[in-house]
Structures are given as C-alpha cells and as structure tokens.
C-alpha cells in the first residue's frame, strides 16, 4: 500500500445562500482544491462526491457526473457516496483507498449539501431518514431526539450536566466567530445556551448544529509525488471507516459509539500513534453531546469524563487538546454531505499553520472524526504535517 498526501484543499463558506445552487457550490470547492494543488483538471483520474440527500433537498440525482463535468472532469469515474452525515468522510476514505492501492495517482474527494431551500420541518424529516424509518422514525424520532436520548442516558450514567454540554457550544461558537468561512460567527454565553429554545429535551437550539449550504474538496496523490504538486501537503497517516446499527434501540449502551471506538482504534494502529499524540482535532459535533461522547470514545479522556473535559476548557484553542478550532458543525455549519471533507480541509489548514487567529501552538498531528446518523458510520482520519 502506498502512502498518500493531501496536496490541495478548497472550501466554500458555509451558510445560507439562497442565490447559490448545489452544483455551483461544489464546483467552487473543487476549483479551489485543484488550484491549491497546482493540478490541471485533466490530470484528475477519479472523483468521489459525498452527498447525503440531494434528491430530497434539491430534486437532483446523478450528482457526481453532474458536478464533475461542470468542474472540468471528462471521461473519468465520477461516483456519489452516501453515508448520511459521514458521506464525504466516506468519499475521502474511498479516494484514499484508490490512491493507496495504486489504482490512481490523482483523485479528488469532495462533499456538498444544499439544505436551506427547504423549511426546518421538511429538513428535519429528510434528516430523520438517516435513522431507521420503520422503527424510531415512525415513532416520531428526529435527529435531535436521538441525540437528546443519548444525552439523557449520558447524564444518568455519568452525571454529565446541561452546563457541560453548553460549554461545548460556547467554545465552538467562540472558535467559529474567528472563522471567516463559518455560518454563525456569533459568540454566545453559557446562560444563552441554557436558555435557548427547546428542540428536544434536554437539547436547546444551542446544542444543535446548523442547517447550512456548502461544499468542500481535497486532492489526493501518492506521498512520493506530493512535493511536485505542492510543498505544503499533509500526510495521510490513517483513514478508517467502520459501521454499526442504524437504529439506536438496537444498541446495548447508547452512551458509546462503537463505530467511533473501532474507527479510532484502527486509525491509531495504522498511524502507529495513540490519542496522546493528537495535537488538534475536528470532532463531529452535530450535537454538543456528540463531541463529548466522541472525545471519550477516541480515548482523549476517560469514559464519562467528556463533560468535565469540555467544561474545564481542555479542548479550547489554548487548551491541551484543541477540538473544533473551525467552530465545528455547531458554529461553522453542517452542510451534511460536505462536513467530512470540510474537516480534512480544516485540519490541513492547522497543519500548514494557516489558521490565523485560530492557529494552535502544536500542529504536527491532527485528527478528524466524521459520524453518520446516530453512529452507524464513522470515519476517523489522522493527518501529519509535511
């Protein structure tokens, strides 16, 4: 297997863009990525596009060639990958595999979602489709409800508090406020977060990620070729994708994401590293409790201690392990299909030292964790500085 590098990154801003369609967002991200990589579009040999629900959100299917041809790719395999909120994490995994296996030398992985043209109740219904529609979905479970039930159980078993969850939101908003590409660049207080409109108890609107439009893309090449394209590449030290039950009620203990644990363990093993080696991380904070659970399941902190870890500012930009310096899904935004590759872009920016006032002090090893549904898919990627 060949070592692989990320030689180009490109992202649109995340937000609500009524004047932009799905294709123009995706093309903008891909164009930025190939320009950043100094790769002519005719050199690209395969294109993997992560997208969760284009057919439901904008009524368009067959998205990969629809975007790929507009981005200037001709006669190459263009494939859409759908794994709920981990769609583009999965696109990144498959792109990495194809380069590592020696099938292709230059591959683009991207993700896109255009969500804001639908009403919130309709978006809620479409997102519920990432769960088990015959069971929990039919009973009326929304995605906030599934994570609210995880939160309730985590509070019950470990004494996690609403204040600790609010601390995740406050931190991520503080980070996102400094990110020019973030959707909601607004600093919030613990009091505001706690008093937010209830969405699904105990979660308020400030515990939930945003409904956003946006796209992200990266260019992957074999490590041995990386410097020829871009001296500011990032090494892909590991990518692992795992799966678990789609329905929450099939799990024994919903305070654990087995897919996060297994993807993390596989990725650490592949990279020859452990949780203590990670210097900056982007975790999938679709809800504040999800960042808390992921920080535990990735071994950053003991099981049940994710709440205090966040509340004590351990994961702040100036803390021992900065998490979601981009603002996370909470403040940066969560255009579902774009999130996984967006995290790779954010980690690469940190490894390059390009994160401006959000730059962390130590930035040689970064980790990205992308979760699909209530944990049925997880992709963990570990990147290293050039």
């Amino acid at each position: 297997m060949r070592s692989v590098a990320v030689v180009g990154i490109g992202k649109t801003a995340f937000g609500a863009f009524p004047d932009r369609d799905l294709r123009s967002l995706a093309v903008e991200a891909v164009t930025h990525a190939v320009e950043d990589a100094n790769v002519p579009t005719e050199r690209v040999e395969a294109f993997y596009l992560g997208n969760f629900a284009g057919p439901s959100f904008v009524g368009q299917n067959h998205l990969a060639p629809y975007v790929g041809t507009a981005a200037g790719f001709n006669s190459i395999p263009c494939t859409r990958i759908e794994d709920a909120c981990a769609s583009s994490g999965s696109a990144f995994f498959h792109a990495w595999q194809s380069v590592a296996a020696g099938v292709y030398d230059v591959v683009v992985a991207a993700g896109v979602e255009k969500m804001t043209s639908q009403t919130t109740p309709r978006v809620t219904e479409i997102l519920a489709g990432a769960g088990d529609m015959a069971g929990e979905g039919r009973a009326g479970a929304t995605f906030p409800a599934l994570f609210a039930m995880i939160a309730r159980r985590h509070m019950h078993q470990y004494g996690t508090t609403r204040e600790q969850m609010a601390a995740v939101a406050v931190k991520n908003h503080a980070n996102g406020a400094k990110n020019p590409q973030a959707h909601m660049r607004k600093v919030i207080t613990i009091e505001q977060a706690l008093a937010g409109k209830p969405i699904s108890e105990p979660l308020t609107v400030y515990d939930c990620s945003l409904i956003s439009d946006g796209a992200a893309a990266v260019v992957l090449v074999p490590l041995e070729m990386a410097a020829r394209f871009n001296s500011r590449f990032a090494r892909v030290l590991a990518v692992a994708q795992t799966s678990d039950y789609v329905a929450l009620d099939q799990k024994d203990d919903i305070t654990v994401f087995p897919s996060v644990k297994s993807a993390g363990e596989k990725a650490y093993k592949m990279a020859g590293l452990g949780p203590r080696d990670v210097e900056v991380a982007e975790l999938h904070d679709c809800f504040t409790i999800a960042e808390i659970v992921a920080s535990e399941d990735l071994g950053f902190v003991e099981k049940g201690k994710g709440g205090p870890f966040a509340a004590e500012a351990c994961s702040a930009i100036t803390g021992p392990l900065p998490i979601n310096t981009s603002g996370g899904l909470k403040s940066k935004g969560h255009p579902v299909g774009a999130t996984g590759v967006g995290q790779i872009c954010d980690i690469t920016m940190q490894l390059r030292g390009d994160a401006g006032e959000r730059q962390v002090r130590r930035h040689r090893i970064g980790l990205a964790q992308n979760l699909g549904g209530s944990g049925a898919t997880c992709v963990v990627s570990i990147l290293g500085a050039a």
Partner: protein, 83 residues
Amino acid sequence: MPDSIESSASQGGTVYTETVIFSPPEQYAADAPYQIAIIDIEGGGRHTVRVLGKQESDRARIGDRVTFVEERDGVRYYRKAAT
C-alpha cells in the same frame, strides 16, 4: 408478525431513555410537543415508542415503568404506569 413479538409488544416496559420533541418532522407537526422513549420490554427486547400524555405528571423518566396502550400505524403507544 410472529406471535411472540406481538405478545411482547403488548407487555409493559421500563424507560431506558426518553425525550420530549418540540421541533417535529413535517409529518408529526400536529403532535408536538410529544414524548418518545426507548423502553426495555418485559420479557426482552428494546423498542422506540411514543409515551402518551401532555401533563408534566404524564412524563416518563429513566427507570419509570410504562404500560402498553395500543399499536397504531406501526407505532406503539405507552403510558406512564400509575405509581
């Protein structure tokens, strides 16, 4: 549906976790706010169900017992058991 599942569905259960939903999907907009719970069914199995009632006293919490009311359109409705 096999008889064994049918009969277990109509048994009582214990709340494993729960939430009250204020922001419903389009399909259930008229029901909001409504409570759902994952319950451990007596005799085995875990299911996601609706818990009926709009009053604070109807609210089922982790560890509370719930009794089966009915199954409608594939959804099982339960009510917090009297204590």
